[in-house]
């Protein structure tokens, strides 16, 4: 394998995942929370593909493609929810969406 080994890719993937987790924790705009979620899913995908390269079987790549589909479905439902919330004239702020709090 030319270039850096699988471990280097895994470290990049972990840093990217932590960046996304930080974004989910710190941001209040639900749109940016969704974008940070996409980053976390992509970090997982990078780890899956690195492991697929390490074991030399294609199953990790199949898993990554499936995660991609789930991410697309999640984006559709998440954005649909955000549009529906904004139609109710509720301010888009994850700290102020407390209607479901018991």
């Amino acid at each position: 394998m030319d270039g850096p080994g699988v471990a280097a890719y895994l470290i990049i993937s972990v840093i990217l995942f932590a960046t996304g987790a930080f974004g989910v924790l710190i941001r209040r705009s639900p749109l940016i929370v969704l974008l940070a979620l996409e980053i976390m899913l992509n970090a997982g995908n990078l780890a899956l593909i690195a492991f697929a390269r390490q074991t030399g079987t294609g199953s990790g790549q199949i898993f990554a493609l499936t995660v991609m589909v789930v991410a697309a479905a999640e984006a559709v439902v998440g954005l649909g929810l955000i549009v529906a919330i904004s139609r109710k004239r509720v301010e888009l702020d994850v700290d102020k969406l407390t209607n479901l709090r018991g």
């Binding site: 972990v14 987790a21 990078l46 593909i49 199949i62 589909v69 955000i82 529906a84």
Partner: protein
């Protein structure tokens, strides 16, 4: 040896672009800029996929993410007006510090677990034949070993499409006003 150096250069550039654009997505105050930074993030990720011999996944990544998902995000942000808010605004400092600590804890945790459980096996990658991540290989895997995953995936997409239409259609009359 020249090829190896070239791969290293491409890897370093792609990894730096990946991490900076990821941080940019999280820290831009305007959601529109965040979505644009996500395109850079996904493109540099596709370069890393190519280095890992995952050609088909890299192509699908650019098509599905940069082509479809980000465009959908941009549409919604343009539709809602994309109010900008500074990442640190209106929160107690303690909450920001706690977020940084939690993210760092996740990173350290994952690195420690991988190093303990798989550290000695990561040094040598398997030999792969030509066409490891080619569309033909992926297609054969999808319609052979992983047929169930393929079919379930189509149901997930269908349910998500129906859910998106229902969420996006007009609100019933009694809940209006």
């Amino acid at each position: 040896v020249a090829g190896n150096v070239l791969v290293w250069i491409v890897w370093v550039v792609a990894a730096l672009a990946l991490l900076t654009s990821g941080i940019a997505v999280v820290l831009f105050s305007n959601p529109f800029y965040s979505a644009l930074a996500l395109i850079g993030n996904l493109a540099s990720l596709a370069v890393l996929y190519l280095l890992l011999a995952a050609e088909f996944v890299a192509a699908a990544q650019v098509l599905v993410y940069a082509g479809a998902v980000v465009v959908m995000f941009l549409f919604v942000i343009a539709y809602l007006g994309g109010r900008a808010d500074a990442p640190w605004a209106g929160r107690p400092t303690m909450q920001s510090v706690a977020a940084i600590l939690a993210a760092a804890a996740i990173a350290v945790e994952v690195v420690v677990v991988i190093a303990l459980k798989a550290g000695d096996r990561l040094s040598s990658a398997a030999e792969i034949e030509d066409g490891f991540g080619s569309p033909a290989r992926i297609g054969r895997l999808f319609l052979g070993d992983h047929l169930l995953a393929f079919e379930v995936t189509s149901i997930v997409l269908l349910v998500a499409a129906v859910g998106g239409v229902i969420l996006g259609s007009a609100i019933p009359k009694e809940s209006r006003s």
